[in-house]
Subunit: 658 residues, 2 copies
C-alpha cells in the first residue's frame, strides 16, 4: 500500500474503544494496579510496552524542551510539608465537593452527580417525546462519568424545566458547594440507585496527607503538581543561570490527586506522571527570542470569545496572527503553544484531533493573565492534556511574602534612573518603651505599608499631627506622632532594577497524552478487523524491530544472533520471535504492539547475507544487506527520514506471507 | 599531563568532605528541599547538574540492564494498599526502634543512641588514659551518626566495662527493642544532652501512611521498595514472555522511608530513587546462559566467614571460582554481581573503593538463600549501595497464598513423568448438612493439607476409622469418617511441571551511588587546592562540552552559533560561556561541574574553521576542524574510545591560558 492508501485503510474500520482496551490489556501496555488484591480504582501499572512507550515519550520531551531550549531541569521531592501548600493555596482550594449517602456510606462527587442525573432526565424526556438522543459527538465528553445513572426513564419534562436543566449544565463547572447542595434539593437529586437523600456537599481536599518523621507532628502531603519545587528553588536557579532572565526550569515526575471516584481509565488517575516547565520572564517584556522560528505555524484555536458565544468550531490562525491580534496574550505564551504542538505531533498525536482551547474568564485563576489548554480528542470527548498558562508573579510573590525572602531578579540598569517614592522612618528607640513586646508587630506593620497607604498616612500626619491605626493582634487604636515616625516623599537614583519575574507554565499530563495517542494510533486492517495495529511513530514505539527467522533451522538462528548483535550494538530496541507460528501471525502480534519494523531472515540470508525489511502500516517490504537495512531503520527511527527516502536504495520485495 | 600524571595529581591533595559539599551546593548539584521554609531533614532536591547526572546514570542503567539483557520494565504505583504490605511483611517488620524523651518530646533512634553513647565513653576512656582515638579508617562508618553526643568526657573505665561495651557494639545491628531497652537501663543511657531517662524503645514503622479515596477507610502506604509491584504482576509478565523462564522484570522509581532522624546527607533520605530487578528463575536450575561472558572478572569479596572471624580484608577471586567454591550460591547470583561491578565502574565508581560483602546469617531474612551487598567506600565508611539477594520463592508464595491465586510457571515436560502422591477426596454433599455455614472452612482446611499431613491423616483413618482435627474459628474437635473423606496414595502421569520460580533481586540505591561517585570523582589541582575538579566519566557527565569564545567579538559569536547548531543536532549536551572572565576561570568553573570537554573558539577559528578541544582532567589540548573535534567528543563520550585513540588524528596544541 502507498502511504495515502494507509491513511484510507486506517479510517476504513470504525474506532471501537473496547477493542483498543482489549489489545492494551492483553499486550500489557497497562493494567489495573493490585489486580491480584482486587485492584484500587484510579491506580494503574504500566507493563513493558507501556513503560517503554512512556520512557520514549519522556526522552523526546527532555530533548525537545530541556536540551533544545537549554532549560534547567530539577528533581524535587514529592513529599511536601503543609506550610508550602498552605501558601500556594492548595490546602484551601485544591478540592472537589462530595456528598455522602448517610445510609449506605457511598460517596458521590457532587458536580458529576448533578450533571449525570440532569442529563439522564433530559435523555428520558427525549425518549418520551420520541426524539433520538443528541449526536454522539457533543455528548461524548460526558460519557466517561456515566456510570451511576444506569437506567434512563422515559419521562416527559415541562419546557421550562428543560431550559432550566440546560442552563445548569452549561455552568456546571462553576458552582460552589453550597450552590450544588441547593441544586440537589431543588431538583430532588439523591442517590441515583436508591433515591436516598444525600448529605449536603462537603469540600474534600484532593491531596494525599501523611506525617513526616516519627513525632507525627510534621504534616505533609504528596505534591499535587511539580511546580512548587521549582518556585521554591527560584533563587538557586537564577544564580545557576548567572542572574540572567528569561530562563526556564523543568521537572518530570509523579504527582498525586486523591480523586473522589476515579473512572475513565488512564484519563483520571490518582498517581500520574507530569512534565512541567516554569519559564521565568520579565513582566515588561514577554517577547521570545525564538518566536520567529514558530510564528508561521497554523494551529486550531478555540478562544474564549467563541466559547462564550456557545460555539465550538475552532479558528485556524498562525501563531503570529494570534499574538498580534491579542488573542494570545504574549509571544512567550504563543511560542510555547507552538512548541507544544510540535512535540505532540512528533510523538503521534493526530493533528486533526488537537486544538488549543483558551480558558474562559470564570475558569481561570484570578492571578492568571491568560491560559490555553492543548485538548486532544478521544472517545471520551476533548480532553485537556497540556495546560499553558501565564501565572503572572503570583507564585513567587506568595512564597516570598510567607518566607520573607526576596524572590526577585536584579537587573543592572545601563542608565541609572530617578525614582520618587514615599519612605517611612521609625525612631526605633521610642518603640520599645511604648509598646514593649508588641513593638516588633507595630514596626512590621508600618514598614510594610504600600505607597498608597504611606501617602494617606503622610497626609494624616501633616494635618492631624499624628496617625491612628490598628494592628492585628493588638487591642485598641494606636496613635503615633512625628516624634515616632517621619514619612517623606524622596527622590533616589536607582542603578539596579528589581522585579518579580512572571511565570509562563506549560504543564503536561503524560498519562493522558499517552492514552490519546493510543486512540489516535489504533486501527484495524480492513481485510480483517481482528487484526489491529498501533501505528506509533518509530521514534516512540516501544520496540523498533522484530527479528523473525523463517523457521527454527539452526543456520537461521546463527543469522539471528548476528543481526541481534548489531542491533544491540546500535542500541536499537528489538525483539526476536522464533516461535513456530506463521510469519504473518508473528507480524500481526507485533502490529498490536506498534513495532514499526520487521526483519525477516530466510534461507537466502544464509547464502548472501540479505534480509527483508517490513514496514508495519503498509506491510511493504524491501530487501538488502543487514548493514543497509539497519541504516535505514536508524535513519527512519531517529533521524526523521521518511520510509521512501530511507529505503530508496533497497530492492522492493514481494512476499506471500501476509 | 599524561594519564598516569593525572592519577597522581588526583591523589596529591587529601580529600576533604567539606570542600566537596561546598562545591556540590554552590553548583546546585543538590540542595535541602524546602530550604526557603527551613527545610525538612532527609529530603533533598537535585538541581540542574545533579538532575542531569542522575538522568544519565538511569539511562546507562536502562541500557546496561534492561536493553542489554532484554528485561521487562514495568512502572508501578507508589501508593500501595495496606493488605499488600501486610502480606509482604512490611507492616509488621519494616521498622526501627525509637525512644522518646518524656520531658522534651525529642525522639531518638535507639540503636544509634546506644552506639553513640558507648563509643563516646570509650573515646573518653582513651583520652583519660592518654591514648589517641582509633584510626580514622575503622571508625569512619560510624561518624555519620555522631551528632547527638557533642562532648567527649575524659573518664577512665574499668577494663571489664570496656570489654562489655565493645562486645555490645560488635552486635549492635542485631538487638531487639526489648534488648536495647535493657542495655539503656543497664548502662544508664538517657538523653545525651540533659541526661533525662527515656521511655522504653517502641517500634516505629518506617512507611509513610495515607488514606486512599474520600472515605478514609482504604489505608495505604508509600511503597518502601519497587519490588512488590513486580511480584504482583508476575502472571502478566510471564504471559508477556510467552510463559518462558528465566526472565527478569525491572523497575526504576521513587521509594520512601520515614527515617526517625535522618542525617548524613544523600546517604540517608526519606524519598529516594531505586532501580530494582527481579529475575525469576527455575529453583532447580540457577545457571545463567551468559555466565561465561563474566566469569573471569576478578572482584573483591568479603564473604561471611571472613567477617565472622572479625576480619575485613577482602578476598580477590574470579566470579567463576567464587561460584565453583560455593562462596556465591549460584551462577545467576554470580552473574548479576559481575554485571553490577561492570555498571558501577562504567559510571565512575572507583574500583579500589568497591567490595562485595556477603550478609552474615543473622543479617539475612530467614527465606533468603544468599545475599551480597555492593559496598562503596566513602568518608562515611563503607556504604551499602546495591543489594543482590536470592530471595527464594518467598514473595510469590506469600502473595499467592494470601490471594489464592497461583503464581507459578507451567513447563511442558518433554518426557511425561510419573508422580505418586497423597490425594484427598471429599463427599461434599455431606459437608453442608453436617457443618452448615462452617462447611467451606472445613473443606478449605482439608484441601490445603500438605503431603506429610495427608500421610499421617491417611494412617489415622485406616487405623481409627476416623480423623480428628481442629479448624481455626470453629470450636471443639471435628471428627470425620470415611463416609466423608477418602485419602489415597495415587500415581499419576504428569505432562506439565509446575513450580514457583525463585527470585534473584539486584536492587540499586541510585542516590547513594551518586553520592559515592561524587566522592570518588572529586579532587583538587595540586598547584591550587581551591581549584576543584569532578572527574565524571564523559558518558554520565551532566554537560559534555563547554563552548568558550575567546572574547565577545561578534565574529566569534557567529562561530559559536554554528558550533552550537552542530552540537544540538548531534544531541550532545553543551553550554556556552561567553562571560567576560578569563578562559582559565571559565574552565575552572566547569571543572567543578565535571564538564569533560571544552571547545575554545578564537580568531584562528574565523579564518580556518579550526577550534581547540580541551580535556578536563589533564587540561591537554588538541586542535582540528569542528567536524573532527565533534567526532572525537562523540567517540570518547558514547563509544568508549580513549582520549588518546579519539584524538590521535588531531594536532596537539599548547595554550598559555591555564
Amino acid at each position: 500500500m502507498a502511504s495515502e492508501d494507509v491513511q484510507l485503510a486506517r479510517k476504513a474500520v470504525e474506532f471501537n474503544r473496547e477493542n483498543l482496551e482489549s489489545v492494551l490489556k492483553r499486550r500489557f501496555f497497562f493494567a489495573p494496579a493490585f489486580e491480584l488484591y482486587g485492584g484500587v480504582s484510579g491506580l494503574y501499572d504500566y507493563g513493558p510496552p507501556g513503560c517503554a512507550f512512556q520512557a520514549n515519550i519522556v526522552d523526546v520531551w527532555r530533548k525537545h524542551f530541556i536540551l533544545e531550549e537549554d532549560m534547567l531541569e530539577v528533581d524535587c521531592t514529592m513529599l511536601t510539608p503543609y506550610e508550602v501548600l498552605k501558601t500556594s493555596g492548595h490546602v484551601d482550594k485544591f478540592s472537589d465537593w462530595m456528598c455522602q449517602d448517610p445510609k449506605s456510606g457511598e460517596i458521590f462527587r457532587a458536580d458529576h452527580l448533578v450533571e449525570e442525573v440532569l442529563e439522564a432526565r433530559l435523555k428520558g424526556d427525549k425518549a418520551a417525546r420520541g426524539i433520538s438522543a443528541a449526536p454522539e459527538e457533543e455528548d461524548a465528553d460526558k460519557k466517561k462519568r456515566k456510570k451511576k445513572v444506569k437506567q434512563i426513564k422515559a419521562e416527559k419534562l415541562d419546557d421550562s424545566v428543560i431550559q432550566e436543566y440546560e442552563s445548569v449544565l452549561a455552568k456546571i463547572d462553576g458552582y460552589s458547594g453550597e450552590e450544588l447542595g441547593e441544586l440537589m434539593v431543588k431538583f430532588n437529586i439523591g442517590n441515583p440507585v436508591t433515591g436516598e437523600t444525600l448529605e449536603p456537599p462537603k469540600a474534600f481536599n484532593l491531596m494525599f496527607e501523611t506525617a513526616i518523621g516519627p513525632s507525627g507532628q510534621l504534616k505533609g502531603y504528596l505534591r499535587p503538581e511539580t511546580a512548587q519545587g521549582q518556585f521554591l528553588n527560584f533563587n538557586k536557579l537564577l544564580e545557576f543561570n548567572n542572574g540572567k532572565t528569561p530562563f526556564a526550569s523543568a521537572s518530570i515526575g509523579k504527582s498525586f490527586r486523591n480523586e473522589i471516584s476515579p473512572r475513565s481509565g488512564l484519563l483520571r488517575v490518582r498517581e500520574f506522571l507530569m512534565a512541567e516547565i516554569e519559564h521565568f520572564v520579565d513582566p515588561e517584556n514577554k517577547n521570545h527570542p525564538r518566536f520567529d522560528e514558530v510564528k508561521n505555524l497554523k494551529l486550531k484555536f478555540l478562544p474564549k470569545g467563541v466559547q462564550e458565544a456557545g460555539r465550538t468550531e475552532p479558528i485556524e490562525s498562525t501563531v503570529a496572527d494570534a499574538v498580534a491580534s491579542g488573542m494570545i496574550d504574549n509571544q512567550t505564551l504563543g511560542y510555547f503553544i507552538a512548541r507544544i504542538y510540535q512535540f505532540l505531533t512528533k510523538i503521534g498525536v493526530d493533528e486533526e484531533k488537537l486544538r488549543f482551547r483558551q480558558h474562559m474568564s470564570n475558569e481561570m485563576a484570578h492571578y492568571a493573565t491568560d491560559c490555553w489548554d492543548a485538548e486532544l480528542k478521544t472517545s471520551y470527548g476533548w480532553i485537556e492534556c497540556v495546560g499553558c498558562a501565564d501565572r503572572s508573579a503570583y507564585d513567587l510573590t506568595v512564597h516570598a511574602n510567607k518566607t520573607k525572602t526576596a524572590l526577585v531578579v536584579r537587573e543592572k540598569l545601563d542608565v541609572p534612573r530617578q525614582v520618587t517614592q514615599w519612605e517611612i522612618e521609625l525612631t526605633k528607640k521610642l518603640f520599645g518603651p511604648k509598646f514593649r513586646k508588641d513593638a516588633p508587630k507595630v514596626e512590621n506593620y508600618l514598614l510594610n505599608l504600600s505607597q498608597d497607604e504611606l501617602a494617606s498616612k503622610a497626609e494624616q500626619l501633616s494635618s492631624d499631627g499624628k496617625i491612628v491605626f490598628q494592628v492585628e493582634g493588638i487591642e485598641g487604636d494606636i496613635e503615633l506622632d512625628s516624634k515616632f515616625i517621619s514619612i517623606e516623599h524622596k527622590t533616589k537614583t536607582e542603578h539596579v532594577r528589581e522585579y518579580v519575574p512572571n511565570v509562563i507554565e506549560p504543564s503536561f499530563g503524560i498519562g493522558r497524552i499517552i492514552y490519546a495517542i493510543f486512540e489516535h494510533s489504533f486501527w484495524s486492517r480492513p481485510e480483517d478487523a481482528a487484526r489491529s495495529v498501533l501505528s506509533f511513530p518509530p521514534l516512540v514505539a516501544p520496540t523498533k524491530v522484530l527479528l523473525v527467522p523463517l523457521s527454527n533451522n539452526a543456520d537461521l538462528a546463527e543469522v539471528v544472533t548476528e543481526v541481534s548483535r548489531v542491533l544491540r550494538k546500535e542500541q536499537i530496541p528489538f525483539k526476536v520471535d522464533d516461535s513456530g507460528v506463521s510469519i504473518g501471525k508473528r507480524y500481526a502480534r507485533n502490529d498490536e504492539l506498534g513495532t514499526p519494523f520487521g526483519i525477516t531472515i530466510d534461507f537466502e540470508s544464509i547464502k548472501d547475507g540479505s534480509v527483508t525489511l517490513r514496514e508495519r502500516d503498509s506491510t511493504r517490504q524491501v530487501r538488502g544487506s543487514v548493514t543497509d537495512i539497519i541504516r535505514a531503520i536508524r535513519d527512519i527511527t531517529y533521524n526523521g527520514v521518511t520510509w521512501e527516502e530511507g529505503t530508496k536504495s533497497l530492492t522492493p520485495f514481494v512476499s506471500q506471507s501476509e
